[in-house]
Symmetry: C2
Subunit: 147 residues, 2 copies
């Protein structure tokens, strides 16, 4: 098993703003993809769609301003069954986001791609909270082509 | 052992341009840090410096337009002995860069940070080759503060 790991520091005194961006349809649509639907409650399934396809995530856990965990229940074969784990903590003027996309079976080339792409989406989340504007799909940062 | 993985596609018909950005002092200074010194030859040591510190990398391998490998010989404790591995291949109008920073002992918080920061520097490398201008330190993209 191999994992994708990331960390960003988001300048805000309100970790609730980061938590909302991870636990509401409107928030998720503001940084990951315009086309976000489904249920953001624990036990619900979030449906994220992008021009090339998408992911369905079951919400496993939500602890206000501390933790969000999803399990991938549909999407690319390599993603199914993997876990997306968000840990938040406040450090002065910053909310520190520790991100893990865990449980990849093999470090395939697609995993390299997803690691870089996650980084750009985390920067989009940071931008959304700090400035009010993220870069969700289809206005996302391109790291290759097509991506 | 855990690894940082990334992948970018750089729009160029000349993989040599990417290779040069990884194997010359001027190229490396164009995307990673202005303060790059040392020897870029196999067996030499590259010295990368940033406001908070730096890394010394022994050049282990160079295969034109295909592969570059460095070993960290000085820097933060978690980095020493780790391997930075660049694989290049041409795919149509793009040079595909597969990046690995291998051999971390533990998935510590600093590794999460370095993973995201590497992604932004790979985007800087992409920008340098595609547009002639990267975002090396101290004009780098900030993912937290200080970073």
């Amino acid at each position: 098993m191999v994992d994708i790991l990331h960390r960003v520091g988001i300048k805000t005194s309100n970790p609730e703003k980061v938590y909302e961006a991870l636990t509401t349809i409107e928030g998720l649509a503001g940084w990951w993809t315009d086309d976000t639907k489904g249920s953001a409650e624990v036990g619900g399934v979030l449906e994220f769609r992008f021009p090339p396809g998408g992911f369905d995530m079951e919400v496993l856990e939500q602890r206000p301003s501390e933790r969000v965990v999803w399990r991938v229940v549909d999407g690319p074969e390599e993603w199914i069954g993997t876990i997306v784990d968000w840990d938040l903590r406040q450090d002065g003027d910053y909310t520190i986001v520790l991100f893990k996309h865990q449980g990849w079976k093999e470090p395939v080339e697609f995993m390299h791609h997803c690691s870089t792409k996650w980084a750009t989406y985390l920067m989009s989340l940071k931008s959304l909270v700090e400035t009010g504007e993220g870069a969700p799909s289809p206005r996302d940062v391109h790291i290759a082509y097509p991506d």
